[in-house]
């Protein structure tokens, strides 16, 4: 019978080989100046993404970047994305989409009417018009000035900084005939996304810890499951930090969802193993704890591998055929589920055994001491 628990040091070492470089790469994120470590998308940093198609052929990225620099946006990135036959220009800049529509001339200096709108007064539109008995024929007309007002019927923004950028780009490269996506995230939202993600992961872990402690009647099992879960979070984040540093792989809004899914799966796996441990402890009472855990692991191994395989099959097909938008999300899931399976088999149970043996030793020492003292 294969002894997993006996070889647990090796499995710890393997985990450390992944998590330690990962952790270092994560910490690089906090290094000021250098753009290393985790690369966050605009959902977290705030910013604007704009993906457009030019009717008269796709310009070179360097030329687009020139225009961006001219517009006072030196910190931008430009990429070409392809969908079928069409090529799109994908522009990422600091957040410009949400700017107030800045009028070209300064607003009138005299604005003595700057008082805020009457606050408590009932909204006029809500009140049914009692005086309204419109008799159109009786009402004298006031004819409007004949200037044709510029009706913005185009799909391309014309106002604000994004509008200015749009017109500069169109001047140079010809008309934009499709806006594939536009996304602007202000600092309020991005801050919320970050705190929200952390809050959810912490609360979720806490909930799991409580549930497992309640069901297994053993705080250690819950705590060890959480440790395995943290391991998985670090593995996924670490690999993203490494690949982000090397290839610019980004963490986007869906990443949090991937992380939570991974956590769910990791705990699933761990619970299945622990459930068997719980059962075997009763059946094989008296055997050493390490042997019981090892036995339980081997018994559940088939299930753990097969379930992960099933999920990995679906994920792999999503990764291959599912399109760009969810690729980084699916990739996070793939890593996470492999890591989750690994950690529940090789780390969680092993840690449980270590913890168990440690408390056994302490109990024995206390026993010996009390004997010696008494």
């Amino acid at each position: 019978m294969f002894d997993i628990i006996g070889r647990r040091r090796w499995f710890y070492i393997f985990s450390l080989l992944v998590t330690v470089p990962g952790l270092i790469a994560i910490l690089l994120t906090f290094l000021p100046g250098a753009r290393l470590g985790l690369q966050f998308s605009v959902d977290y940093t705030g910013g604007t993404i704009w993906e457009v198609h030019f009717a008269q052929g796709t310009p070179a990225t360097a030329d687009v970047r020139d225009v961006l620099v001219e517009q006072g946006l030196p910190d931008s990135s430009v990429a070409i994305s392809t969908a079928g036959e069409r090529q799109y220009v994908l522009i990422r800049t600091e957040e410009i989409g949400l700017q107030e529509q800045a009028p070209p001339t300064p607003p009138p200096s005299a604005s003595p009417s700057g008082s805020p709108v009457p606050s408590g007064s009932p909204d006029p539109s809500a009140s049914p018009a009692a005086s309204a008995s419109p008799s159109p024929s009786a009402s004298p007309g006031a004819s409007a000035s004949p200037e044709p007002s510029p009706s913005p019927g185009s799909i391309v923004p014309t106002e604000g900084e994004l509008g200015a950028l749009a017109s500069a780009l169109q001047e140079r490269f010809g008309p934009i005939d499709e806006v594939r996506q536009e996304s602007s995230v202000g600092p309020v939202i991005s801050q919320e996304v970050i705190t929200g993600a952390i809050l959810l992961i912490v609360l979720g872990s806490l909930g799991i810890l409580l549930w497992m402690t309640f069901r297994f009647g053993d705080f250690r099992m819950g705590a060890v499951a959480i440790a395995a879960l943290i391991h998985d979070v670090i593995v996924v984040l670490g690999i993203f930090a490494i690949l982000g540093t090397l290839f610019g792989l980004q963490i986007d809004a869906l990443f949090v969802t991937a992380m939570l899914t991974v956590i769910g799966f990791s705990v699933h796996d761990t619970i299945v193993v622990f459930d068997r441990v719980r059962e075997n402890r009763i059946r094989h009472a008296g055997e050493p704890f390490a042997a019981i855990v090892n036995h339980s692991l081997l018994q559940t191994l088939g299930r753990s591998v097969n379930t992960s395989l099933v999920v990995l099959i679906t994920l792999a097909s999503l990764l291959l055929f599912g399109g760009d938008a969810i690729r980084s999300f699916i990739f996070a899931l793939l890593i996470g589920i492999v890591s989750g399976t690994y950690s529940s088999i090789f780390n969680a149970s092993a840690l449980l055994v270590d913890w168990h043996e440690w408390s056994e030793r302490r109990r024995q020492q206390a026993f010996v001491q009390s004997r010696a003292g008494g």
Binding site: A110, P112, A142, S145, S149, S151, G163, V185, W211, I313
Partner: protein
């Protein structure tokens, strides 16, 4: 209970099938709406804006103000005739607007994002030429309004005798008096309708206007007419609002996301079924039936509740398919184990279900706990994910425990099913019960 269960399963299945495929109206809905699968903006294209209501020193954002702001924005959006806009309050001071399938983003953003501080400003003769629509008032002009937008009681579209679009509005008492005085004294002059310091329209006064009823005519398109009516009618928001987030996905991009996810999901599912069949044989086939049943029930729930499917929701669906399969895998692995331990087929199946149940229960409840936390505290994207996950967990537990179990119980009673190869174990591991009845299966059992 044993007797009713199969009927219950069939009934639920048929009901779900009907919900999933038939064009039925949604129950309890007024006006009646067909049940359909709702797609999120990322899968069908559209725009989403998020706005923050800005409190002033002496006016905090109350629940009432938030609700008023929401309804004004909703009215503004509805007035444009765009289909199925969703305007919701978020937290204590946010409003989100979702409009599917919009192309002309500028116009909508202007409409929503403008505070709607609406003023009627007299234009002195010397500025008469320099006032232009769509621009701020010319520098140096006195911007003191005659009155502001809350004096308007009614505004509606109208058509002139010649059929040209016009805008007709009625003023309240005070405004009517001011307007009458002004128009009487300034025939031939212009006045400006100013929204958020930008001139919307600057008509020329043709005659004195008594009684507060006026018309604005000019070279309007119908769209411009409707926009002006909207501005006049739903002009002022109680407090200023600020756009804090905005995203737009084109319909073609949404369409390609949807197609790609569907294709990828279908391929993935086919591979999963193949794997189950090859690895678990007969129970695998049962699991596939259970999986199809699960899929139909989920689809019916999506349409019934209704669940808005987004990319994150699709991910949750994939995950929950994984969980549905997992429940079956747990049971079958356990059944195999029990077979190898020398149990007969039917008692191995029973033991498989009973023993696997505790881990299925514990694992799924922990998923439900995280799902509930996500649903309660999460952002809209995460909420969508959590809802699909919760539904998936509950439905997968139900199918594993009812459908898989009933079918497998039935299958192992059939004589043809009792072959080691069907269960993926070796011949020598396979024990067949001396079944309580029926002589024919006894022969098969004699092999041991």
């Amino acid at each position: 209970m044993r007797r009713i269960l199969p009927f219950l399963i069939v009934a639920v299945g048929l009901l779900a099938l009907a919900f999933a495929v038939l064009p039925i109206d949604r129950p309890f809905s007024d006006p009646p709406r067909a049940m359909d699968t709702r797609l999120g903006l990322d899968l069908r294209g559209g725009l989403r804006g998020e706005y923050q209501v800005i409190a002033t020193d002496d006016q905090p954002v109350t629940a009432e103000i938030l609700a008023t702001t929401r309804s004004i924005i909703e009215q503004r959006v509805n007035a444009t005739g765009l289909s199925e806009p969703i305007v919701q309050t978020q937290g204590t001071n946010r409003i989100s607007v979702e409009i599917p399938g919009v192309e002309n983003v500028d116009q909508v953003r202007d409409l929503i994002g403008s505070t709607g501080r609406l003023d009627f400003v007299p234009v002195p003769a010397d500025f008469s030429q320099s006032v232009t629509d769509g621009a701020p008032l010319p520098a140096g002009m006195d911007a003191t309004p005659l009155f502001s937008g809350d004096e308007i009681s009614v505004a509606q579209p109208a058509f002139s005798e010649l059929g040209a679009p016009e805008v007709q509005f009625t003023l309240q008492e005070n405004g009517a008096r001011l307007f009458e005085d002004y128009t009487r004294a300034n025939v031939g002059q212009r006045f400006a309708i100013v929204l958020d310091e930008v001139v919307v329209s600057a008509p020329v006064v043709e005659t004195a206007i008594p009684g507060g009823q006026a018309r604005i005519s000019g070279n309007f398109t119908v769209e411009e007419m409707n926009n002006l009516v909207t501005v006049l009618k739903y002009g002022a928001l109680p407090l200023e609002i600020n756009e804090v987030g905005f995203s737009q996905v084109s319909a073609t991009l949404g369409q390609s996301f949807l197609e790609q996810s569907l294709v990828a999901g279908a391929i993935g599912l086919a591979l999963v079924c193949l794997f189950m069949l090859l690895h678990y044989r007969l129970p695998g086939a049962v699991a596939i039936v259970a999986l199809i049943y699960y899929g139909i029930v989920m689809l019916a729930l999506f349409r019934f509740i209704p669940v808005t499917l987004t990319l994150a929701g699709v991910a949750a669906a994939v995950l929950s398919i994984g969980m549905a399969v997992d429940a079956n895998v747990l049971i079958f692995e356990r059944t195999k184990e029990e077979l190898r331990a020398g149990k007969t087929v039917s008692s191995a199946v029973e033991a498989g279900f009973n023993r696997a149940w505790t881990s299925i229960f514990d694992a799924n409840v922990s998923s439900l706990i995280t799902g509930a936390i996500l649903y309660y505290f999460g952002s809209p994207i995460i909420k969508g994910f959590a809802l699909v996950l919760i539904l998936g967990v509950i439905v997968s537990m139900f199918t594993a425990l009812t459908l898989s179990r009933e079918i497998l119980r039935w299958v192992v009673r059939q004589p043809w099913s009792r072959r080691a190869v069907f269960f993926g174990v070796r011949e020598d591991e396979f024990t067949i019960a001396a079944p309580p009845l029926r002589g024919r299966s006894r022969e098969a059992g004699a092999r041991v």
